[in-house]
Amino acid sequence: MATLQAAVSCSNVSQLTCNGVPSSSSRSSSSAVVSWLSPSSKFSSELRLSSVSSFSQSTSVLQNSSVVSQVRREALRPGKVGAARAATGEKNVLIINTNSGGHAVIGFYFAKDLRAAGFDVTILTVGEESSDKMKKPPFSRFSELKEVGVQTIWGSPADVGAAVGSAKFDVVLDNSGKDLDSVKPVADWAKASGVEQFLFISSAGIYKSTDEPPHVEGDAVKGAGHAEVEKYVSELGFKSWASFRPQYMTGSGNNKDCEEYFFDRIVRGRPILIPEPGLQLTNISHVSDLSSILTLAAQKPEAANGQIFNCVSDRAVTLSGFARLCAKAAGKEVEVILYNPKAVGVDVKKAFPFRPVHFYAEPRAAKELLGWTSKTNLPEDLKERYAEYISIGRDKKDIKFELDDKILEAVKQPVTV
């Protein structure tokens, strides 16, 4: 990572946190080999400024480059960082970011994408900078944000004003609250302080189940939680508002395990236990797909106004299929064993990282209204994820597989050590 930074011309970046205290060096990115910068990554050195966010710019298999990706490539040219702050009326974006969980990584990528697109960015992480939670990715890599000129501050969504002081923002993304209680103070503060565009990370989990997948924007949702927030925000009178419904994400800097669950078992020669029938469809998207939708929405506030966006890639994968893709990425064989969680007597939420039902949304609004195209390419993305998995030594970690063993016992399969 250090060599990479030297190669980039804008290495003298702001080291200030909100309090003007130089960022702690202990939070600089892990010195472990970041093999996702290896030559196998398919982008030029010019793009490395936001290398993490343009991660899966593989040009194989999937959709052709579009106008969108052209715009992104132009935006990624270095040179604007650092200078942008002093300049002229670039829009100022505030990201309120959760300090843990699957959505934490969204703010990390979005911040970088926004900087590359010329926005000024502040990321307000919930809680305290000194919290143990900050030792995990993506927080442990916030130096990367600081290096590209993102302001990193900490505070509470219940009092955003206290955290940001007199700073004015044009766009706010709430990537923290899951219900009205937690988002209302953010939305109210944003409205009162003149924020023009309010964006909210909701969840595709609010869709009601259907006989006719995929979940499509406009479909019926379960009324509480995120749905209440969407309704509240829509009625506040922002010049532009939009809600984004993600599913599962993969990508370097993830706070929550995704493919790691599968790699843990594959490298140790253990079977992957999947709630039957195994052909449940889900979306596992590279987080850069999500951040590119968000960035487009910030760039096109009129087009995005009043809209819901499913924030997912445009291919679904089956649960068993994902296990197979992980194995292929690792260059190993895998045995998939299907089981019935109820019959076995395990809580499937604890035993398996994905919902055991069809959970499949399509990003139709993003494509149609924002001209967005998906870049997720799971076969390629998982190779990079696997390389990082090995590089941090997780394959050597001592992991207990108690629930797996319980399930195997119940389905009467011997465990080969």
Partner: protein, 416 residues
């Protein structure tokens, strides 16, 4: 919802303005009030070919489409559209069985010269259920027929050659050699439009199938892939349409009919494995419109397009949708493991036991085509015009059902 299918109606046709509050921001953004032209009684709607290249419409607004449709009136008056495209001299290979029945009518209505090339085993024309006498008279008096056998390659030059056909719709071709023979007999064409199949796609864990995905050289639809390759290799101006499961009135493939038979008999519906397999049904009338939209469309030259419904559906979901369509009670679904049975040559379920669905985005973007029928609505159309009138192609055969029910210890039925 803004619709790409905006037609100029004649006096008497009703326009229905769609007021959908949740999408009004979309309508106003596009600057036009969303207008939907009522369909003629046979369910066919007229196509304005000049709009074929217009911008893609909202493909994610299925929910709103369904709700507005529920109250729409079927207007018996035909709405005739002045065709913006050039009049073509069209040869349809097939045209008397299912897709071709609807396609030929649309093309005739568009003002093209249309000739059906068939062996004459089925009547060249027959009145469709729901088609008025006037509509049928208009069609049958204009459509032409040439009798012959496309498998008799040597005869083709004499039989169909030198007649000025400039467009071929190859609806029933199976092998590359068959298309080649037609090309040899006809010479230069403005366009060769081929009915292929989504069955060509290689099975995948990553779905939906997209046109760029690999085909399966071992599939039983290999001939369709070969035909596409043949057309490309000949430098022909070709377009290929890949439907998934086609349904609709007069379907000769027992897709919806299979479910309707069981629903009518009040029988449980046996579904293999979990019933969560996801597939996709497309209404034949939507497919016919897609074929028309491809005609004269430069973007479509050398391209393949998946054509089917805007939503996918689980196997269990099809059973429930079919019940709604026919006004039946929600059915009992019985799941079984097909590996535990030997059904011999009989098919215990009409659909392939796997995920099988495609993205229709390319057609939506490039052909300016939108499927009009949601699943329940489309199955209702099929039921009302076909099975619900007492017509079907294949008699009910519950023998495999009874094997399944017996093995699972369920009550078996005495034949009615």
């Amino acid at each position: 919802m803004a619709s790409a299918v905006v037609a100029t109606p004649v006096l008497g046709a009703q326009l229905q303005v769609k007021g959908n509050a949740s999408r009004s921001s979309r309508s106003s953004a596009s600057g036009a009030v969303a207008v939907r032209l009522n369909k003629s009684f046979s369910g066919l709607h007229s196509v304005d070919l000049s709009n074929a290249a217009s911008s893609a419409t909202s493909s994610f607004n299925v929910h709103a489409v369904k709700s507005s449709r529920a109250g729409s009136q079927r207007n018996p008056a035909l709405a005739v559209v002045a065709s913006a495209g050039e009049k073509k001299n069209i040869l349809i290979l097939g045209g008397t069985r299912f897709i071709g029945l609807f396609l030929a009518r649309l093309l005739v209505k568009e003002g093209h010269e249309v000739t059906l090339f068939t062996r004459g085993k089925a009547a060249v024309t027959s009145q469709l259920p729901g088609e008025t006498d006037e509509e049928y008279a208009a069609y049958s008096s204009q459509v032409k027929h040439i009798k012959g056998d496309r498998q008799d390659f040597d005869s083709l030059k004499d039989v169909i050659g030198g007649k000025g056909f400039n467009v071929v719709y190859d609806i029933n071709g199976r092998e590359g050699t068959e298309a080649e023979a037609i090309l040899n007999a006809l010479g230069d064409l403005d366009q060769y439009i081929f009915c292929s199949s989504a069955g060509v796609y290689l099975k995948s864990d990553l779905l939906p199938h997209r046109e760029i995905d690999a085909g399966d050289p071992k599939s039983r639809h290999k001939g369709k892939l070969d035909t596409e390759a043949l057309l490309e290799s000949k430098g022909v101006r070709w377009t290929s349409i890949r439907p998934v499961y086609i349904y609709g009135p007069l379907n000769y493939n027992p897709v919806e009919e299979w479910f309707f038979h069981r629903l009518k008999a009040g029988r449980p519906i046996p579904v293999p494995n979990s019933g969560l397999q996801v597939t996709q049904l497309g209404h034949v009338k939507d497919l016919a419109v897609a074929f028309v939209k491809a005609l004269g469309n430069e973007k479509a030259i050398g391209q393949v397009y998946n054509i089917s419904g805007s939503r996918y559906v689980t196997f269990d979901g099809i059973a429930r949708a079919a019940a709604k369509a026919g006004g039946f009670q929600e059915p009992e679904l019985v799941h079984y493991n097909p590996k535990e049975f030997d059904f011999g040559k009989k098919k215990a379920f009409p659909l392939r036991d796997q995920h099988f669905f495609t993205s229709i985005e390319k057609a939506q973007a490039e052909l300016g085509w939108e499927p009009e029928f949601g699943l329940v609505e489309g199955l209702t159309d099929s039921y009302n015009l076909d099975f619900g009138r007492g017509t079907f192609r294949k008699a009910a055969d519950f023998s495999t059902d009874d094997l399944i029910l017996e093995k699972l210890g369920k009550k078996t039925f005495v034949a009615a």
